[in-house]
Amino acid sequence: MIVLAAAKLQEGWAYVRDGERLILLRPPYKVYDQTSTDEPTLEAAVSRYGYQPMNREFEDWEPLVEFLEEQAIKTRRALGYPPPRMENIRGLIRFATKEMAHEILARVEKELIPGHELITASGILADLQELDAVKSDPELPGRIQFLLKQTMSKSRISWSRHEVPEKYLLKSQIQTIEFINQGASSIQPSNH
């Protein structure tokens, strides 16, 4: 049995008692999102930072996490925040600094392209190459071109292998293929 001692419901952050341990639990609720903490920190969280005392028992971690996620969404709506639109989430890329752009490209290179998530990869690359922070960097434009080429090459193999008729493709997938094909003629050779 674990006890939810207090929570910042709108954030999904929670102080949880598990036997003798007091734990601060935060989204996305992985093991590394659990930090051991102490009673005075719980006191400060409640009395100074707006955490709500709860004292609610849960059989296990899973129902607790479900409760926290559900309450966070509910509280956010009650505070007047509607569900975000996909374009908001996609728009996050435009705030990338040079350092973040490098990190994003590393994930595209190591995860998305090898995992054949080519539509996502090409969308991210297309958005990144429009950024001033990227254009003014000596390395980033070349790296993006290199990754776009990899994406195109994998896409061609992928499409030709599966020979999926166009009628089975989503509109966004067709747009991506068009984007990739256009990109092929406009992309200059890079140093990679």
Partner: protein
């Protein structure tokens, strides 16, 4: 005891901080003189860095930050608690306090001991990084002009609720013990250097200093009174790992519903900061 008598017994926290400068100067001089020349140089350099770059950081959750930017004023703990309790459809502040009194007790004793205690805002002394993220991982850095303005500011060596020697059973606040560890803005650097002298001398790389001064569970508490608007923000720091996760995984449908919501709100916050010409950093 009448309310007037209680009020007369209250102390001025900021006066106590100002009264502690001679003691801090003396202790800093003594400790510094006892060090080897190389170590003394490190301690002086750390103090100079804190003097120049030390700011008040206020950590908060995502929606607290968004509400702050929208409403135009930083709310104190009482206002936040009331607002969130209502939004969650729970009971009001007073009935919560009645049920969970012990969680509020020391905080109320602390506020009650000082003039204008109920107006106190809390932060941490910060020279970089995400700050005391245990209360929220969005770290707002207040600008330097705050120190020259009408604000009352005191720095306390350790967390006021957490530090055992500030408290006796009751709970009773040990004001004399606390007063010895207070500093006004002019002496924040000496307070910090005295607290962390062993760690900074032991650390070979000054890049570790921000983490030594202020991290998830360790901080020099900044207590201040004044109206804080978004205009007083120098920069807002976000966890880079979260930004990356939201920016990339948000496009892969790999986020939970809550994280999708957080990703969308993050975009709103970043847009607002840009519109307000407030700097942002991912760390």
């Amino acid at each position: 005891m009448s309310e007037q008598q209680q009020s007369e017994l209250k102390q001025d926290l900021f006066d106590l901080a100002r009264s502690n400068t001679a003691r801090l100067d003396e202790e800093y001089g003594r400790e510094s003189a006892a060090l080897a020349p190389d170590d003394r140089r490190i301690m002086d350099r750390f103090a100079a860095t804190v003097r120049k770059s030390g700011r008040i950081a206020h950590n908060m959750g995502q929606l607290d930050l968004l509400q702050f930017l929208k409403s135009g004023q930083l709310k104190n703990c009482y206002e936040i608690a009331e607002e969130q309790s209502k939004a969650a459809g729970g009971p009001g502040k007073n009935s919560i306090k009645k049920k969970y009194g012990t969680l509020y007790h020391r905080h109320e004793v602390f506020h009650g001991a000082f003039i204008d205690g109920e107006l106190f805002l809390y932060g941490s002394l910060n020279i970089g990084g995400l700050g005391a993220a245990r209360f929220g991982d969005h770290c707002s850095i207040l600008n330097e002009e705050l120190f020259q303005g009408a604000y009352q500011i005191a720095f306390l060596q350790s967390d006021s609720l957490k530090t055992k020697h500030y408290w006796a059973p009751g709970p009773t606040l040990q004001i004399e013990a606390l007063a010895r560890e207070l500093a006004p803005e002019t002496h924040k650097n000496k307070l910090a250097a005295l607290k962390h002298r062993e760690e900074i001398i032991g650390a070979s790389d000054p890049r570790s200093w921000p983490e030594i001064l202020c991290r998830e569970n360790v901080n020099i508490e900044a207590i201040f009174v004044g109206v804080v608007t978004p205009g007083e923000l120098e920069t807002v720091r976000f966890p880079a790992s979260k930004y990356l996760r939201y920016a990339v995984d948000g496009r892969r449908a790999a986020l939970s519903k809550l994280e999708q919501d957080m990703a969308g709100r993050l975009e709103s916050i970043l847009s607002m900061l840009d519109n307000m010409s407030i700097k942002r950093e991912f760390v």
